[in-house]
Symmetry: C2
Subunit: 640 residues, 2 copies
């Protein structure tokens, strides 16, 4: 018995199987990428494939309309093979794209925010200096009177040029030294790292190529973002992002940890991030910057604890099992060659240190970028990603915790979710009387809507709540033209009719979307609440709130407070700081002082493990309402 | 058109070709190992294959008897393909074996000599200490109250056990740390290197496996010899040797350098030494010692300059081209993983430093082992290998030079040459009147002769000369029952008739053998002569002569003087010191002080490049007689 996967834009893959085999499992075995954020438990509805030939035993579920089911669409996680069959698999790359977060410096606003962050760090006294140097040498050509061997000749030239005592020439450079010296007639450029009185060579090129490159990488559970920077000037040479290729092993860290624990799983998950995700981006960015990958002399990574473990290929099992002891917090001496990254093999890979199982390097790097470690005032730092992380404190102390928010803020759990690019509904106001929406759409004035991005979702839910269309539980309680119900009675609000949208499909938000979102925002708020309680404080003490992550600069803080996602403090206290993990990673790759400061911040940060913290679950349950079961916490919410 | 190679003991290989293609070239292209010490110039006669089917255009040459030619034996270097054909290729491994030198510690005498060397170094004040340590740890098991991550837990344990400040855990150890800690319930052994206040972890195992291993390797042009030693006690855990797999690319360094310069050549030559030669020996020795290759924490290599370049994969072209500038003399920071050697990937590979294009690490390591750097008396150190190297001096100065002796001392250029194992003629006396030989044969009293080893060849030539059977040019000048001539008039002396020998083939030495040997001994003597002249000294000043290399402990120094190979000094001044390159390498792997002393010896040694030294060629020509054209230099020679 066999299944043929017809993959969009790729060659078909055939795999032998037995009757009753699960289709998603088969796809994974055959290395066929199917988008499965929920890792196959039927809840996300993203793993759809279309049956072309043969038969599958397959439950329809609420994720597929009758029409879609009739067209052959099936959820692969809910399908069993009955006999030979052929299924069409949509291109997963597009699926990734549709869930991509916005803080990848693709918009001018993000670039401005990013640069303000760096200036802030300068202002805080962080010196943007690193030890990488390019030395152009014109060495004497050997003769019978001057028979110094190649390596001593090179060392002599470098010592003379830099005034160092010692020169270290590594294997990779030594092996090609005889050739390049003679090819370039002993006029070369040596790139490397200055450490005390020693220069460590890393690359030798012709005398024209003197560029020194750093790569700063934010590895999110859902999205990966990267910039290449000139290590001498700080200029951004190239930037880019893509979905995290591990997504087919589950949308959240828990599912990824389970998958990496299976036989061969660690290698698969590591390949998914390094070979399938980071390497292609690095290669593309090098191409667009017109540099050789070997010129990348340092990399820095901001990633959560699980992503860090999967990135380096270390067993992450203990991250999710009591007593929640990860294999490492910080890691010294990691090199690009250890991970087979397309960069100079000897390039150090700086990992922003983790401080707990669920507060990782993305948060320590982000905390660096936020600057809260340098301020007297009490700051709350909120990173909205697939996990939500909270840091609270000032220059005297820093507390942190994490909660699992799920992919809602990145559009993952929302049926019409998308990134904040052309066609995204990024803001929304509803008329209380008519219930008619007034949408702000990214793009040209005549752009039709395609889907809803993170900030749009917050607005819609806030407005639905304000206008009494949904109740505190997120259920539809007003009837009207735009409120529809399916056969199972599930309500939805239609933002754009099929004929008004770009795609010809209705743009709407349903009760499942709203429920997913409420649980996500409840997780965030209860984490903040618990963290404050743990130090016997209340929201009154908060001087500033820094919001980071992929939700985008268009986030309406008033609406976020309105629905009980953020604490009810004065709106002018809120600041959106973009992808702070990437900002922090950039600072680390550019500046030794920034890297050292990140380590210091991490060492001084206290980690609160919410999953074993008394009272957290109660707080979470209480927060899964609009705005909260205890409305006194939100005096300024529209419905309080 | 195609050629099928039927390889003894292996699967056949078929290669497409054109009419007129050279058979040896085709074999190399097809990666078929054919023994070709002279690299295909027709002089050695070792590249014989047997034509099974089809036709070859092939010159018979003096290397094949009529009978052999009739049986289908052909020299592959002298054969052109005319059409489809099949040839039988003898197993090259046996060919290597037959040319293997003796100084591989396989005989008890060699072991005694080896150990005396080490004791001598102790006596010279070299402390046998190294920084490798095994630490057994019983770490506390993590709990909710003790959530230190794995790497910090391990570091803490090591700092506590060793009293060091810092611990470095490399990637290879980190990646498996989570697993092994839990598998061994946090009771483990960590092996690594102590450097100042820092312990560099290299391997983590169960708490029972505490062995620390060093590998000392002598890479000769013809033969490779290795010992595994316990780094804590110095005990030899295993020892072994084999032919250098590069032999099919030429018997001497010049031919190897030419071959490595061809497209893909560097990789082929490196693979031949690392993949095909060293790796199998290392794996076998580990097996026989009952250890894991990952327990090998340091390696040391004594090898000539060319072998060192080919070993590390660095272009050796400049070694043989004016101005004779090698790519390196010494090399710091080389690791086993750089060369993909089966050992701990982080094991440092110590290369005994080269001091010139033709005086390499085998000589600096050998000089260390000889102890001449510690003596007041004037010593001459002679290493007899494929190249002959000479060092002269004492604690105040050291001079050195090299000459190309060819493989004669290792049996390579001698038709009945073999190693000093069972059946080898190791000594010989001739009756001047009857010309009958009296042979000493290695093995049981009733062992029949198989061939002639290095010391036997010296004896035979010396005796043929003493008894007037050959003249000063090495030509047969007496007739007798044992002196035969072939159709071309070439004379030979029969040591054992076909029916007396173990193989059923006659054991003899012919004029070509003698001529090869005279050129080899002439090269050695003229190098000694030139070196002494360069410092305005004569043989009278020599207090001691240390003879090292593969020729074996049975060497008769009197006979070696008799034929003008060694200078005519009192016989009690001669000392055979075995494989001094291996002895030196062993000292280096065991002792940091020995490694440092080798570097010091190398730094203080002056190199004389004979190929450009005025007068050397004249001296060589003059030495290509028995004993010498100037007989006054050999007052004690039998014929003077």
């Amino acid at each position: 018995m066999k299944v043929t996967f017809q993959i969009e834009g790729a060659s078909p893959v055939i795999i032998a199987c037995n009757a009753g085999d699960n289709l998603l499992e088969l796809a994974r075995r055959a290395n066929v990428a199917i988008d499965a954020p929920c890792s196959g438990n039927g809840s996300c509805g993203k793993c759809r494939v279309r049956l072309v030939e043969g038969e599958l035993e397959s439950v329809q579920t609420r994720h597929l309309t009758d029409e879609e089911y009739a067209e052959g669409w099936r959820l692969s996680c809910y399908s069993k093979v009955l006999g030979d069959c052929t299924v069409f698999v949509p291109d997963i790359a597009s699926a990734y794209q549709s869930r991509m977060k916005t803080a990848d410096l693709s918009s001018p606003q993000e670039v401005v925010i990013f640069q303000e962050c760096q200036e802030q760090l300068h202002a805080s006294g962080i010196r943007f200096e690193n030890p990488f140097r390019a030395v152009v040498l014109h060495l004497p050509v050997p003769s019978l009177e001057d028979t110094m061997p190649d390596n001593e000749r090179l060392s002599w030239g470098i010592r003379d040029a830099l005034g160092v005592e010692r020169v270290e020439i590594p294997f990779a450079v030594m092996v090609g030294l005889a050739h390049i010296l003679r090819e370039e007639n002993f006029a070369v450029c040596v790139k490397g790292r200055l450490e005390g009185d020693c220069f460590h060579c890393m690359e030798i090129t012709g005398s024209e190529d003197t560029v020194l490159v750093g790569a700063a990488i934010d590895i999110g559970t859902t999205t990966v973002t990267m910039v290449l920077a000139d290590l001498a000037t700080g200029a951004i040479l190239a930037k880019g992002s893509s979905g995290n290729g591990q997504i087919r092993y589950g949308a959240d860290v828990i599912n990824r940890i389970i998958q990496q624990g299976r036989p061969g799983g660690r290698k698969k998950l590591q390949d998914a991030i390094i070979k399938e995700t980071l390497s292609p981006i690095l290669v593309n960015l090098c191409k667009s910057a017109g540099i050789s990958a070997r010129s990348i002399l340092r990399l820095s990574v901001g990633a959560n604890t699980t992503m860090n473990h999967l990135f380096v290929g270390v067993d992450a099992a203990s991250v999710r099992m009591e007593p929640y002891v990860p294999s490492f917090f910080s890691w010294d001496g990691l090199l690009a060659e250890d991970l087979k990254l397309p960069a100079n093999p000897l390039a150090p890979v700086l990992i922003a240190p983790n401080i707990g199982s669920y507060v990782g390097g993305d948060i320590t790097a982000g905390t660096l970028a936020s600057g809260i470690w340098d301020k007297d005032e009490m700051s709350l730092f909120i990173d909205l990603g697939t996990n939500g992380e909270i840091v609270f404190g000032n220059r005297d102390f820093l507390m942190s915790c994490a909660c699992s928010a799920g992919p809602a803020f990145e559009g993952g759990d929302i049926s019409c979710g998308m990134r904040a690019t052309d066609g995204a509904v990024e803001a929304c106001v509803l008329d209380e009387a008519t219930m008619e929406p007034s949408l702000t759409i990214v793009g040209d004035p005549d752009q039709r809507p395609v889907g809803i991005c993170g900030s749009g979702i917050i607005d819609i839910i806030s407005e639905l709540f304000r206008t009494g269309i949904i109740n505190a539980k997120g259920l539809f309680v007003r009837e009207g033209e735009r409120v529809k119900r399916d056969d199972h009675g599930m309500g939805r609000y239609v933002l754009a009719w099929a004929e008004e949208s770009e795609t010809g499909r209705e743009i709407s938000i349903n009760e499942v979307d709203i429920d997913n979102f409420i649980r996500a925002k409840g997780a965030i708020f209860s984490a903040i609440d618990t963290l404050l309680k743990s130090v016997d404080m209340t929201v009154d003490v908060i001087d500033r709130v820094y919001v980071a992550g992929g939700i985008g600069s268009g986030i309406n803080m008033k609406n976020a407070v309105n629905i009980g996602m953020f604490p009810d403090v004065e709106l002018e206290k809120f600041h959106y700081i973009g992808n702070s993990s990437l900002s922090g990673a950039y600072a680390m790759v550019m500046s030794d002082a920034a890297a050292a400061k990140t380590a210091e911040v991490a060492a001084n940060m206290t980690y609160l493990e919410l999953s074993t913290y008394p009272g957290y679950m109660d707080s979470f349950v209480a927060a899964c309402f609009l705005p909260h079961t205890d409305a006194r916490l939100f005096p300024n919410s529209c419905r309080s």
